[in-house]
């Protein structure tokens, strides 16, 4: 890549999180976002006057707009905001917008947030809340002409063409749960065995309940500024080495060529072109796991294994003693629990954990000496993303 001037120029200097819940907290989405945002700003050592950009994702469902940057700016009393963006999930969209805005000079520091809030259609405890019964239509799109077969049908196709079995998806789920046991922010806090996994209720074949991320309430927030300014701030900074928010103009459903070359392949190639660090250099890896099968697709798209060979590779990576995946016997995968066990927040949990790991602030989950992280937020169809983070130490 001859031209990528933003490489290592933008730093993540603040992080905040409410942690995730699946009970019925009688709180607004705005309350979660505001809590995470103020934590992140305070953590950064910057003041509210310094925050010139506000970029966020908060779930959009028809008839309900979530929390947009205008609302958050007013709620937090940020006095001078001159760059804003409100995006669809996953988190990479706004992370990328904020990073490019700071680099371009549209603002010197930006707040990035991701809030997630269950509508009544997503969980029984949310449906018990009269307030949430007002939000969005019932989830009746699961059957018929508009059925959302994408990930499940991809999984079925993948099973038929690769020799993958449910046990391979189970390794992704169990790996996440092992991490979540050491993560106070995570919702799932009981160990998961392969026997339990295999007995899991089937949701959309071949995906069972443990292959689908857990609907939660919560928010994460981050503060970005220039790498130069980051060096004057109190905390260890994490540099964004490379970033990509990819797409391919083909909706990948079984039978279409996009199964071989999907948006995820575009993301991987784009990230590879912009990064001096690659899979042999990383110390911790964050494939997206909103559905377990996405992780297998990411592993192949990133070039860890040829098409169809991810199941075999997962067997190689699996440590039976530790009940988790270790790339090359060394590199942990989604050590916070991933979306499957920490909670489904469209990648913001993966970004937060990457920042904590590279700062050396991951507590019992800390990967010793972690300096480089690779992240693949998003699915393999219309929203694949890629990031390489490195510590500034």
């Amino acid at each position: 890549m001859s031209r990528y001037p933003i490489q290592d120029q933008i730093a993540i200097v603040g992080v905040g999180s409410t942690g995730y819940r699946r009970s019925r907290p009688d709180r607004s989405l705005l309350s979660f976002v505001a809590e995470a945002a103020t934590q992140a700003i305070i953590d950064s050592g910057l003041s509210r006057e310094d925050i010139g950009g506000v970029c966020g994702v908060a779930p959009y469902v028809p008839g309900w707009f979530g929390v947009n940057p205008q609302t958050l700016t007013g709620t937090l009393g940020l006095p001078e905001v001159h760059y804003q963006s409100f995006e669809l999930p996953p988190i990479g969209h706004v992370l990328s917008n904020a990073m490019h805005a700071v680099f371009a000079g549209a603002c010197d520091a930006a707040l990035v947030y991701n809030g997630i809030y269950r509508s009544a259609a997503l969980s029984r405890s949310a449906a018990a809340d009269p307030v949430r019964r007002q939000i969005g239509p019932p989830d009746d799109a699961g059957f018929g002409l508009m059925a959302r077969v994408d990930f499940a049908a991809y999984g079925q196709h993948y099973f038929e063409t690769s020799g993958a079995t449910r046990e391979h998806l189970g390794l992704i789920a169990i790996n996440g749960r092992t991490g979540a046991l050491h993560n106070d922010l995570a919702v799932m806090d009981a160990p998961l065995t392969m026997e339990q996994y295999l007995a899991g209720r089937m949701i959309r074949d071949p995906l069972c309940i443990y292959d689908c991320d857990v609907p939660v309430d919560g928010a994460d927030a981050f503060v970005l500024t220039t790498a130069e300014r980051a060096r004057d701030l109190p905390g260890p900074a994490v540099l964004i080495h490379a970033a990509t928010v990819a797409n391919a103009g083909t909706r990948a459903v079984p039978g279409q060529p996009a199964l071989v070359s999907s948006g995820q392949h575009v993301a991987a190639a784009s990230l590879r072109e912009r990064s001096d660090l690659w899979i042999d250099d990383m110390d911790v890896y964050f494939p997206y796991d909103g559905f377990s099968v996405i992780s297998l697709a990411a592993i192949e798209a990133m070039g860890f294994a040829p098409a169809g060979a991810a199941p075999e590779l997962l067997e190689d990576w699996w440590s039976d003693a530790e009940q988790r995946l270790l790339v090359g016997g060394r590199v942990p995968v989604n050590p916070h629990g991933g979306a499957l066990s920490e909670g489904g927040t469209q990648g913001s949990g993966h970004v937060r954990e990457a920042v904590l790991q590279l700062r050396g602030h991951a507590g019992a989950r800390q990967v010793p000496g972690a300096r480089t992280a690779i992240l693949n937020p998003g699915g393999m169809f219309h929203n694949p993303q890629g990031f390489v983070f490195r510590s500034d130490a």
């Binding site: 009688d26 709180r27 607004s28 705005l30 309350s31 505001a34 809590e35 103020t38 305070i42 007013g74 709620t75 937090l76 009393g77 018990a128 809340d129 009269p130 307030v131 019964r133 007002q134």
Partner: protein, 148 residues
Amino acid sequence: MSDDELEALVSRSDGWVIDHDNKEFYAGLAAERLLVDRCRSCGRWQHPPKPICPACWSTDIGAEEVAGRGTVRLWTVYRVFDPVLGGVDPAGARIVTVDLDEQVGLRLTSKFIGSRDPAVGDRVTTRFVDRAGSRFPVFVLDDRAEAT
């Protein structure tokens, strides 16, 4: 607030969307009380309801009753469709934004009812009227102020 009370609140037909930040305010209206968010940490009032104090960022927020008296700061006349009336009020709806006496900049916007148009600087107080079966605060000229 019990689920039954919350259910009754969200199923009203007066056009407001109830959430966990504003439910105390709207529940107060049914009892003809104006319950406004106040920071328990620094004492600052704010309206509309929000889950965090914009001054000190405390999330310890509670709704407290205000007297409903204040001074008209802004006004206009709405001549648009009112879904509760099912039409346009032929006389127009006078709308005022009032600086409440409790704190400089604490503002509440509602209808103004009176025999003349409001004027910036008018002293006003709150009365409750019926709107789509719910109690609804409007501003009227403050008799006490007029008497002095």
